[in-house]
Symmetry: C2
Amino acid sequence: MSLRMALLGLLTAYGPASGYDLAKSFERSVAHVWQAGHSQIYPELAKMTADGLVTVEAEGARGRKIYAITPEGGAELRAWLISHDPTGPARNEVALQAFLLPLLDPGEALAVLERLRAYTERKLAELEALHAVKHASPVPEGATTGVRFGNLALDLGIRQTRTTLAWANDTIAAIGRRA
Amino acid sequence: MSLRMALLGLLTAYGPASGYDLAKSFERSVAHVWQAGHSQIYPELAKMTADGLVTVEAEGARGRKIYAITPEGGAELRAWLISHDPTGPARNEVALQAFLLPLLDPGEALAVLERLRAYTERKLAELEALHAVKHASPVPEGATTGVRFGNLALDLGIRQTRTTLAWANDTIAAIGRRA
DNA sequence: GATTGACATGTAAGAACTTACATGTCACTT
DNA sequence: AAGTGACATGTAAGTTCTTACATGTCAATC
């Protein structure tokens, strides 16, 4: 369902687009929140067409198909946003490694934490780069809250990544003291 | 792979256990980090037995099978912990809803944020309850870092949940000012 | 004119995960 | 003696996701 909602959201915010465009949008903007490759996106768009949530508005060069969201699609997205409680399947590889970390001896654990810290730092740098770029991007139609589409999630992502980084630093210090 | 590693970790920390026990452990201790039901655990244990990572150490009453980790299993877990970089598939429903939120008008957006805040508060309460309980639990063997198994992840989880809560509160305030 | 590379769309096989179905044991209560 | 509920293990069908394969167009360069 989430993939479907992400696609409906992109079509609402940026207007009609092809599967290819949507796959690019995933890479660029939604990637830090939800990931999907083209091999998942194309079949999903086909199903959504069958379900009447989107239509093929036009077919362009190179077999390019332009999808547009239908009123039913808009309703589905709104309903989901308003009433779907995140099932939060809780699947976090960083946290799983943190969970299992005490099974290693202190030296190894420190090495793993350093690796996690480096990984988190890279991720933070990426998000902050996005944050810097977004000020130059246009405000899409449909953003009635006065907040630019995607910014709330970016803010949340940056805060969470900083929190993870602080945790890694504190844990390195704590284990370092013992070793 | 992660499910496999979580199972190997539990077997290392708490010693031999049945599929049923492991499913319970998932509910109790790893759940906030990685989730799996018994219908996923039983077949995985069968595959792991075939791969030589665990063995059926004993068969008890009621068809109960006790699995124990093998040296190969231990090596596999260590290798994964030390060198596997989290692929971070980035699939976060809360963040996705945050991403799409500006598509709603301010009143609706506020309602969604309130729902997300309530959800996050419930989750924080659960984690803090676990935190309170853990001080009464025994220190399992294999925890050579001097940190109790699972505590690092719990700390990380609590910090992240607090961060999400703060984000929800700040965002509610920000959108409230505009509305 | 040939090659390269971004554009563009798909399918296939398999792994991971969810939900529901299905079966049987043992201890304790009524 | 029958019923309940925790114990215990599995299978089946369906969805989602990953990785790899497969095909073809168009523009620009060499």
